[in-house]
Point group: D2
């Protein structure tokens, strides 16, 4: 099979590799669509993310969907021919974090496209039978691939305890911010504000029905809320320290902040404000138990994931896909179709 | 002013009464719309609900909206001329239940249309300034009056922890059940089933967008869910013991049941099932902190309260309104307009 | 090895059986102590509990401790020679209940002494490596065996959200009730009341430091709380319907009831009270993630599990152990020592 | 009556003032004991705390107990002669924060010793009837005064969700840290570590039964936990930025941090760690609904508040009391007795 392999920073090549054979509890999935993510681009540019360093050639890509074409001898949960969305990490399931329902924090997680584990920019992948979610015909391959970033959004909204009555501020209108804002609406929030400095993305937010899109290069965040009530939820999706700080300062007493966007290791946070307003600040690391909900949200039309897709490429276009954001300000989400 | 007064069971008469004068922290509200509720009908027919007995002539009606026409000297929260939805009970605010955020359980609550406190089937009422929610022009008088039953629905959904991914069973498609089912959708539930034996109401549920309406006079509840996943939330709105029991037995492990419908004092519940499936069973008593959310849901169109209104009457039609349900199977919600 | 086998109701015999060999992820444990439980006695007397029927000869016993004497080839979590408390059930770890942190509700749980799975009234048992908790020297074999009923108590207190300030009513002063009451204290409850009709058990409760022990054959439960504040937690450990109902009626508004004691399949519960007081009623089915906490509570002396042990027998005394309760009103917990 | 009045920074004088007369819902309390707090000292030294500036002469002191000597005409909750602990703030009770059960976040709170509201370093104070907690004879005046800092500790432990099984790190062994650590034990934590650099305070922590006291001037915090499990709760009581950061870095995945100690407005927090470990960070501002629990903890002996008292002074010793910490490293809590 063909696989797009990151050999070193700024160099991806197509390789021929053997189609892998499923272990007893695994399925072999023919990959139909893979979203590209900022973390893929970061590996492409820097060869590392924090302590995860690409020492050996690595296949990137972790937002994937496909069709089961073979299964191992103990597979009961899934049958050949089923179209599936792929949850790209397998936890140990038995450590204390897993048993507590927080398998995303499992120290033994094996995760796609995280060195030394290969990802899905290739024709076939092996997936543990427990990590496949069948999708019905009305869910497209692109949409099924995007259950992964949608899961990030679902997880963030859960952590923020978004519900009807919540006033939600989403900072950053990239793919994750756009999904977070839509998902906030699906969680019942009527009053949702998204911010960015990119007018293309703010316009897309409005087309997606986000009630308020604020260009923070033109409008002060605090002014955007005066004199009305302050938001009680911040979901930070830009990774920009100023957005974190301004967002925290905008929150009402007892507000909840969830930091999704990755950026600086340390940020000077307004601790006295966190205290006087009893704000709660947390972050997200991947997600747990989100695929069934992602399916619900997509199938019911409550979240439009496909609206984010601006480009499609084949396996030979992976390098182009990973650099699209820098070249085209209108790019939001690029989908790789390995079979094309 | 005119007031419709319950003199004894099955006898309501129009009286002339003085327009009351607001105390220091009260507003005088000219009543524009009042919904009729099963509890009003119960007082009308039986002269009591449990320990609450109508000893003196009583004005019924507690689902009310109107316009502020005068305010007491210490009123700061509201101004003359404001159209408002009325929360019909005033708690003490300082007991341990109130301080814990559960003012609906305040033992000193003073509540409309609960003997000896008069309700809103009259031209003017006094309301504590803290219990008025201003509504914008696009919210009609009828809708503002129905924030009260919508609050019952919001409270039930909160107690049931409905969120995206929840599979919700609502038993009983009367006004409360119809609002509960719509509200479950607004809380993110995609998979909502409502049951009844009245085809008019089931048809209305479908028109309101409830995904599945089941006639339990024709279809067994258990069969309605097989072979798919069992519901994990039951919101019981019929008060019928069999619905409570069948609903509980239908729930998935760790399911939550919220009993809203009032009926028998005691019901034989499947305790061993509650244990083996670790079901959680609770009930609701009125609501707390729901009016802002009701406003959000109505204004955004996520819940259509006006679709429930089948009849309007003037103050001289209160008796007719309270008996409409028994005479017209298509009746859902009758609104009294005291100024007509 | 020797094993005490239930051949049919009221007949237990000692058999010779081969010592089992551990699978790749299992440990072979030499059993040092096994508590006897009401469920063992129920199988002994009736040959079934609900839908679980003893069709084949069955080894009972599920409250067990021992020492690892051999391990399978993939065992990493535990080493030969380690003294351990045994969690007697292995869930699938991957179903939706397991992933949500509720592995006790796993439909594929394999549990000791539940037909057709054998238990621990024998010299050696196999245990999955993930279900063993090492214990330090200061924790005795008896105490380590009793982590299992203590886990029931921990789980019940967690579900009841017992914390400082809670006023807790425990109905039934059998082994579980006595552990629940002690554990409530360890969770911070200062005001704990236990009820029973057996003076031996009430006296033991007092010796164990339970603040108030009430003989409900002499004192009305309601009177026991007047005129002070009502309890806000009920943990029902008797399985007697009247205790469930009286306990529920005793609760303060917003009270939580956890039904641990098993008895009738159906109980007529005061539904209107559950509604007017917004009581929450749930039950427990085994436990999840409790062993580390049980170890903490025992090692620190906050719960005295050994004080419950009134008798010891060898493997040839299992039948005697299972009938002790009926013969000796002072019996609380009988420990079987299979190596004696 | 006599009152110790802060005229300007570093100048407190005894004044004669009229004994105030209770309003309709107030009680006049003869003050028996008042603890001194770091915030009092801060006002004494700087004349302000953040935006709260002492423009007019101010009576400090907010940790108070006393005896009711007169009541207003509408007081029902309390009678003359009752010994009470005083909760030193009165919220509005009706705003959205109050109604949600978070009255500590009420923007209209009127709080002792916060300009321009006077405190309790005087012979008599007025207290709203809802803010008095009667104490039994076995609770001393000193103990009753210290319900206030104990409330800070209870609130912090609630926010941190401390329960049996929690491993708790308390940074800072001043009066609040010592109460927090004791209270963590009362909430069920067996594994509690307290840190400081003052050997007197660490020794006191050990005498109070805190399981582990670490001198962080000698031992690295990370080393203190290796190789055992990391703490899952941090309650930061020093206000020192390095303690906040080191404490956060010490936490296990899904750990909760509660920042109680006040210090810098901004602190550079390890945001990427908050994300990768999904840590939750919040702060506390006063407390809500804690007095009944404080009474429970003190009366039952689970928390020893009196052990913190190292000095007593009369009203003429307030200035000495507020500067004791700087002069005597063994000083922990100084109690002012206004009647002496």
């Amino acid at each position: 099979m063909r696989a797009a392999v990151l050999r070193e920073p700024h160099r991806i090549e197509l390789d021929q590799r053997p189609v892998p054979r499923p272990g007893p509890r695994e399925a072999l999935v023919r990959v139909s669509a893979v979203g590209t993510c900022g973390s893929d681009t970061h590996y492409y540019e820097h060869g590392r993310i924090g302590d995860f360093v690409v020492h050996e050639p690595l296949v990137l890509g972790h937002e994937a969907a496909g069709q089961v074409v073979a299964v191992g001898r103990d597979v009961e949960a899934i049958t050949v021919g089923t179209r599936c969305s792929i949850e790209p990490g397998v936890p140990c399931f038995t450590c204390s974090q897993c048993r507590a329902g927080r398998y995303n924090l499992c120290a033994r997680m094996v995760f796609f496209a995280t060195p030394p584990v290969h990802g899905a920019f290739c024709e076939y992948v092996l997936v543990d039978q427990t990590m496949l979610t069948p999708v019905p015909d009305e869910v497209s391959d692109d949409a099924a691939a995007l259950f992964e970033p949608l899961s990030v959004a679902v997880w963030a909204n859960r952590k923020a305890e978004v519900a009807p009555g919540a006033r939600v501020l989403v900072t950053g209108a990239g793919p994750i911010g756009l999904l977070v804002a839509q998902t906030a609406g699906a969680f019942g929030a009527v009053d949702v504000t998204i911010t960015d400095v990119n007018p293309n993305r703010l316009a897309l937010a409005e087309r997606l029905g986000v009630p308020r899109a604020v260009d923070v290069s033109r409008t002060d965040l605090a002014a955007a809320f005066a004199p009305g009530p302050a938001p009680d939820v911040l979901i930070e999706c830009s990774g920009i320290p100023a957005a974190v700080v301004d967002g925290l300062r905008a929150l009402a007493p007892a507000g909840r902040a969830v930091l999704v966007g990755m950026g600086a290791d340390e940020v000077a946070l307004p601790v006295s404000r966190i205290q006087s307003h009893e704000l709660t600040v947390t972050g997200t690391f991947r997600y747990a138990n989100t695929w069934p909900t992602a399916l619900d949200l997509v199938r019911s039309g409550r979240v439009d994931v496909e609206a984010l897709v601006t480009h499609h490429v084949g396996l030979d276009g992976v390098e182009q896909a990973l650099t699209m954001g820098a070249r085209d300000p209108a790019a939001v989400k690029v989908i790789v179709r390995p079979q094309e």
